[in-house]
Amino acid sequence: MSEEFKIIFSGPMGAGKTTAIAAISDEAPVSTDVVNTDRAAFDKELTTAGLDYGRIEIDAETSVRLYGTPGQLRFRFMWDILGHNAAGVVILLDASQADALVQLDAFVEAFGAGKRAPLVIGVGRCAEPGALALDAFAQRLENHGLNLPLFGVDVRRREDVLLLVDTLLCLLEVSDPARLHA
């Protein structure tokens, strides 16, 4: 019997979800990009309106589906659908976006704050002028009583995407009650 797992890549428009999936997917991800009509929110030509989809085949019986959620809040209903039964969630944020901390709250809350599935946060563009420091994101999580993995990343580098995925796997590993109480 074949088994399929899914890993979700979520975050606001322009945070690099499509790029991250492309970095590790076996094949070029299937994207449902459309012309961005919200250039005020983020100035890029195309944006994901439905979802991105990539896949990693582990063996003939097992595969991992990689889903990128649409970034806009109005598509939140899709986050719930895609996040159901996910093995892990990667949230990508853009430190140069003015409302990045509000987005952190929204996405972390939407995906259960790490209670429903392991959750890792990657923050990009930390070095851009005017960008929020990574510490501001960490402080925000701490204020909410949350201790979630939070790293400064550049998802154009495959090793940074692998760091996020490997962290998810480590969290999954320690979530095994049999192992923890051995």
Binding site: T62, A138, L148
Partner: protein, 314 residues
């Protein structure tokens, strides 16, 4: 219930008033009764950035707990107990209860810090610097191209490109940091001090740092920025374990199946980076954000398989 004394220095007026009010609110709710005292009589010092330098300097030489209060966009101090102004009463309660756990263990902390192995000189001086109030000064260690300069607010350090690279891969033996009037050469790189603190702990002696308790349970207050310091799988696994619950080093060795040296180095690095806190063993470290797998056997296949496929199995 024990009564503990806490002093506050360098807080802005509004933070000072808020702190006094909060202490009254906390009476009967915290695991100890907290009363305000002068710094010389206190068990704990709360230090903000608005003065109180001399008290903070004296305090830094003790092993008594320090709560560093920082404001605005300032970087979080690399000390275990911090509050970001404006803080809420529940945040103060959480910090005070954590500190009470440490204080309840007795005066062993001070004894541990007293005799520092010379190999720990640099790390110890950096740790003490992080407990002092910043005065905009530079401290330096080493000589020539191996010289390192550190800002006393522990925000950045300056070193040659070669030295930055050496720090990441192994521990160049450096003496203790000393106050200097020199400015770093223009060719030196400016790097986050978190990186220096992390590697000073990670590549220091392969024993538990003298200021850590070999029998205490520890947990992570927050994850180190592994995007900056490029964690190994072993370090990710240890961080995940310490997020899940508080563990002693013995238990960590057992759970992680890593060597005692590797575990000690990781704990040292986390302590230097100010993200490690002592607590009771088996206390859920972040209950609100802990996921427990219901199908561990299934996930075992996913973990192994995905690591193999992505080249992460090494």
């Amino acid at each position: 219930m024990r009564t503990r004394k806490i002093a506050a220095v360098g807080l802005a007026d509004d933070a000072g008033h808020a702190f006094s009010s909060m202490l009254k609110v906390l009476n009967g709710h915290a695991s100890a009764n907290w009363t305000v005292s002068a710094p010389e009589e206190a068990d704990v010092l709360m230090a903000g950035p608005h003065g109180g330098d001399s008290e903070a300097q004296r305090w830094a030489r003790t092993e008594k707990p320090l709560i560093a209060v920082y404001e605005g966009s300032a970087l979080r101090p690399l000390t275990p107990y911090t509050l970001h102004h404006p803080f809420r009463v529940m945040q103060l309660l959480a910090v005070l209860d954590e500190i009470e756990l440490v204080l309840a263990k007795g005066p062993a902390e001070a004894a541990r810090g007293a005799a520092v192995d010379p190999d720990w000189s640099f790390a110890e001086s950096l740790r003490l610097l992080s407990r002092c109030t910043a005065r905009g000064e530079l401290h330096a260690a080493g000589s020539g191209p191996a010289r390192i300069y550190v800002r006393d607010d522990i925000s950045v350090y300056y070193a040659s490109r070669e030295m930055c690279s050496r720090l990441r891969s192994h521990a160049p033996l450096l003496p203790a940091l000393r106050l200097t009037a020199e400015q770093p050469p223009a060719a030196f790189e400016t790097r986050p001090a978190f990186e220096l603190a992390w590697f000073a702990g990670l590549h220091g002696p392969a024993t538990l740092a003298p200021w850590l308790d070999a029998h205490a349970a520890y947990r992570l207050r927050r994850w180190p920025d592994f995007g900056m310091v490029r964690a190994t799988r072993a370090q990710l696994a240890l961080a995940a374990l310490l997020t899940h619950a508080a563990h002693t080093r013995t238990r960590l060795v057992q759970l992680s199946q890593q060597s005692a040296d590797a575990v000690d180095r990781f704990l040292n690095a986390c302590a230097m980076a100010g993200v490690l806190v002592g607590t009771s063993e088996n206390t859920p470290a972040a209950e609100a954000s802990t996921f427990i797998a219901s199908s561990a056997a299934r996930l075992g296949g996913l973990i192994r398989g995905l690591r193999n496929r992505l080249g992460l199995a090494g």
